[in-house]
Symmetry: C2
Subunit: 153 residues, 2 copies
């Protein structure tokens, strides 16, 4: 095949070879950047709480009291990570911890009154964060994107 043929060949048919690995076109790299952008938007709107901390409060609002590990499963954090998040929320008086009466291994987590106030107050801001993150897309594109993204996660 001559070099000229490449001018006629559609891009989709390109055989990737080691000469042209383009980092900026790989899912992982773009996924990382999209995530960074979202975190940045989040920080601009909710400065005093991180996305993982918000996730913990929002999920506790949904399900009520649960064990630390169970909460971690619900918000996709491993045991070590969720411990740090809960520790910091506890230090700020947004959650309270107690021991499970029957199963002595479990550490129960629940919202305090202040924690409930905080999450109720922040939810409208979180809706705006979602909107701003998706702002580059049209309504139809958003529907498509969310469907596909969910398949990948």
């Amino acid at each position: 095949m001559s070099a000229e043929d490449n001018l006629l060949k559609p891009v989709e048919a390109e055989e990737p070879d080691d000469q042209d690995y383009l980092l900026q076109e790989q899912v992982g790299f773009i996924l990382r950047k999209a995530h960074q952008r979202h975190v940045s938007i989040f920080a601009a709107r909710i400065g005093d709480l991180t996305p993982p901390q918000f996730a913990a409060l929002a999920k506790l609002r949904d399900v009520g009291e649960t064990s630390q590990n169970q909460l971690g499963t619900l918000i996709a954090m491993d045991a070590a990570t969720v411990k740090g998040v809960i520790d910091r929320l506890k230090a700020r008086g947004l959650v309270e911890l107690s021991k499970h009466e029957v199963d002595k291994r479990r550490l129960l987590v629940n919202l305090t009154a202040a924690g409930r106030d905080a999450i109720e107050r922040l939810i409208p801001l979180a809706r705006e964060i979602t909107q701003e993150t998706l702002a580059p897309l049209s309504a139809k594109e958003i529907a498509t994107f969310m469907k596909l993204l969910a398949k990948l996660a």
Copy 2:
């Protein structure tokens, strides 16, 4: 409006109110999970290098010698983060550092022979990682998804 009317109302017309904020349907949350999944796939295939470290090597392969800061811009890392990544690559002999002759502020980074060998060897694995990450989608869905994801990043 009676409760029965809700049965007839299409889902898309639901007015979101604070009662039903669903964390698991928010872009940020799913984006974080998708990113986690990708990192996990990456680690399973390339155990001895992280995605940021790989990104640094791959970009150095593209552009050749650059300043640490410039490299950071190219791979979307701030100055503090890129320094850590480069330090670790240097400690493993994959990159080498030198001072810019003219502009004494700049720290030049380049691949060593070992670094070039490593990235050439890893690129085929990186292609597989991209494929596996996108495996839940069809070819057409991949094209759509990548287009929309790029808009968000």
